[in-house]
Amino acid sequence: MDMTPMIDIVFLLIIFFMTVTQVSKVNKEQLDLAKQKGSQDQQTATITINVTEAGQYVIAGNTVTLPRLVSLVSQELSALGGDATRLKVTVRTDQRGISRHTNEVMKALSRIGVLRVNNAVESPQ
């Protein structure tokens, strides 16, 4: 039995799945983001805040409280010499949730001097 075409196809499939497989992204939770075209491509964020539908704050896979979130952002800010313009904060909010939790994040960020954020959206297919 000639195995050559089968091996060709199997290798092709392996290469396909290897290339399309999402490399583990710890900082991105599985959320249902708003389907909008956005204003620009997503840049690499210094800190990514995930706000789940239930209103939980998740940073790098860890559920945190709002004071802890503020503390983490403050640490990042200190590491950048206190220059908020160099800090890129991406807020990923589940579109099914209400805005209260995101509002709390925004208010907390503005209190520590972070006055610019990027809201993540998902490109509609």
């Binding site: 199997v10 499939l13 399309v20 956005g38 204003s39 491509d41 209400i98 995101t102 610019r116 959206v121």
Partner: protein
């Protein structure tokens, strides 16, 4: 010296066993097929944050484009001035009529508003050529 000997010195034909390679290849294939999750393209909507309790006011705050996301008749709508709209396309058309885009647009977000509408409002402001969009959470 010949590198591509097909027969040994004793004239025996070399046979390459494919079984173990195919085992491994199938294992890899099954692994990648089961763990594959397709990447969704994410983009971003940049916005400034302004607290409603901040007292700083500038000349540009006189007549800014303000989109309020409020509940009206049991459902959330976009409110621009006295007009309530539900469709983000219509909101974009209204926002395009503002003469000065340099002053920026403000999106006032009530706590109960669904975030999907907030994103739609910011997107509408961007589509209407407002370069600066400010997210205004409640007090």
């Amino acid at each position: 010296m010949r590198l591509t000997n097909r027969r040994t010195q004793h004239g025996e034909k070399i046979e390459l066993s494919m079984t173990s390679m195919i085992d491994v290849v199938f294992l890899l294939l099954i692994f990648f097929m089961t763990t594959a999750s397709f990447v969704k393209t994410e983009r971003q909507l940049d916005s400034n944050i302004k607290n409603q309790d901040s007292s700083s006011a500038s000349a540009s705050d006189l007549e800014p484009a303000i989109v309020d996301i409020v509940e009206s008749g049991g459902r959330f709508v976009f409110r621009v001035g006295a007009r309530d709209v539900q469709d983000s396309g219509e909101l974009t058309r209204i926002l395009r009529q503002f003469p000065s885009k340099l002053d920026g647009a403000y999106v006032k977000v009530s706590d109960e508003a669904p975030f999907g509408m907030v994103a739609a409002a910011i997107q509408a402001c961007k589509d209407a050529d407002f370069t600066i969009v400010t997210y205004v959470p409640p007090k």
